[in-house]
Amino acid sequence: MTKNSYAGKIAFINLSNNKIKFELTEKYTRKFIGGRGINLWLLYNYSKIEYHPLHRNSPIIFGTGPLTGTLAPGSGRLDIAAKNYYTKGIGYSNACGYFAPELKRAGFDHVMIYGKAEKPVYIKIINGLIEIHPADDIWGLTTWETEKYIKHENKDPYLQVLSIGPAGERLVKGACIIINRDCAAGHCGLGAVMGSKNLKAIAVKGENPIELSNPDKFYRYFEEIWAKITSKSKVTNVIKKLGSLMYFSSTAEAPVRNNQDAYLNQFKVVLPQKFIKEKGFMGIGYYMCPISCRHYFKTKYGILKGPKTNGLHDFVSRLEIYDIDDVIKLNALCNKVGLDIDFTSNVIAWSIEAYEKGLLTVKDFDGLKPEWGNSDFVERMIYKIVNLEGIGKVLAKGVKSAARIINKGSSKFAMHIKGHDLYEAFRTRIAYGLGAATAPRGGGHLDGSPLCEFPKLWTKEDCIRIYGIENCNDGLTYNGKAEIVFYHERLKYVIDSIGICYFFTIWGAPDYPTLDDYCNLLNAAVGSKYTPSDLLFIGERILNVAKAYNTLHAGFKRKDDYPPQRFLSEPIKSGPYKGTKLSKRKWDRLLDKYYTIHGWDAKTGLQKKEKLFELGLESVALDLMKHKKLIM
């Protein structure tokens, strides 16, 4: 076999009977590359429509890509897929850290886990050997304690561990998977899927080298790409200091008080440049990451890893907590107990608004008084959610279900898309919003949403050079936005399938490496002859698998690709965008355009036979046809 950067194997672990099977990765690489592509194809094939997301045989799949563990920037990301606990549709999320390269060096590109262990277990994968160990002693521990315990028990500080906290064990909808204490695969309730299998953690160590098809060529391309990020980009200096925090800016729309407003008037109190200078003392960049999306901070609660951009929007914008020490503490608490911060802040913000509107009382909160900006209240609510105590038990089901339970009109301000709790605020950023509204997993700005609607970073010239569309940086215009989203959907599936961080592409900054750059790197790593167009075609294929899964398992249609009602009916109350809201009529037209350029049916939002055949997804077309959900 020729040398390439794949580990070469996929492991299928059945926790019900401890049996393990193997397959060669190459069976899937031509059509789906690796990472998210292969993950979603395995999920599509092994997940049955009648399975609940927490069904014992519902699989959870961990995947690396061909560039994982190489020199490629941000090549430490682990992609995880399972049936979406919120929506019953497609579920996926990824996280950085040091785990993914270790898994690949341990001999596996992908690991699929299904079945359910009788008692709590953790899986250990060392140099190709897979063992299942009892986890009774660590069930109930936080993710931080779990990582420490496993390293200590195995007397091996080099083990890399992913784990769930008590939130995952108790099947909280917003339960996430944590790597290296603060890298979270937050979306889709994947922590609860692990919990439902009695799977507490996975520990890996791999001492096998990753080979390259053409090492010299690979290194030359790598040097060019690395220089683009670390020295040639016009935003290098800002990014080096702030990482993704540079997108937390006064001009960016924010989900203020559960999106009742979108302008953070006390923005200057939590200026990243300011608090990093005052309290940050060390940047953190995980595997092959040359920027610092987060830092260690000296806080009044001790030394803690700080939040990324969404941590600031979740706790500062959404809940109006302006004490940065408190924000860092709450962010760390969520990571410890294994709760997605976007979910957590969303359900708590909804509950505060429900109280404000008189739909809930202090009695419902067991005597706690809900209020914006009260970090003690938020901390106690986090414990209530994790412990399924009082109102916490309701919030643990996610905002859509919580609003149904409380009723009294509270669904009107329950911020979710397709039933998945929502992080994104988008009354002033149409492309960003369209990407989130149409994302197969239900919200999230890491599918089709671009970041070009930040005029400070994106110039007119950038818009024309990258998208061929003038004024793409004007957030309010609907023109050309469907096309930009379509490009980013495909690009993101490619990036997640080859196994690198999306931030190090033109998504993160307009002068960052392009798909052409990564195509060259990939070809040198695996000995392929892909062109950028080939890769986008594969990206489109993966998108169509995700879309078909949603149609079959969750029954999603056009109506599920709309923004939450609040963005369509309530204008922004203050700030530079005062009075702005989305237009239903324009969104209708935008969706028409969006479906048409995808080759999907604009009336229903369903897929067409012609497109699926063009993409080589004949079996998917057949599945949809059987369920009368294919437009012929």
Partner: protein, 94 residues
């Protein structure tokens, strides 16, 4: 920043732990230098993060140990790769 290769016998790699991000670029590029493959366990450098104390530890293998190659001061390269690749200039020679 290109760094000239030292021929000094006292070549010791040092780290400014406050500057280091823990990205392991130095570790991996060193592995590539020795073997054209990627494996931190081949590298002459080891970087280990201690989250309890928020510290970074560097180990410089000047002699072969287990799978780790001995540092050859980047013989055959135009620059000392680990120092050159570091995005924060955290590594230096003493």
């Amino acid at each position: 920043m290109a760094t000239n290769i030292s021929t000094n016998d006292g070549f010791t790699l040092k780290i400014n732990p406050v500057k280091c991000l823990g990205c392991l670029a130095c570790v991996m590029v060193c592995s590539f230098h020795h073997t054209k493959m990627l494996n931190p366990y081949y590298s002459s450098i080891e970087i280990l993060r201690d989250d309890d104390n928020a510290t970074i530890r560097l180990k410089h293998y000047k002699v072969k140990e287990n799978m780790h190659y001995a540092c050859d001061r980047c013989q055959g390269e135009k620059r000392v790769l680990c120092i050159d690749i570091c995005p924060t200039e955290a590594l230096y020679i003493k």
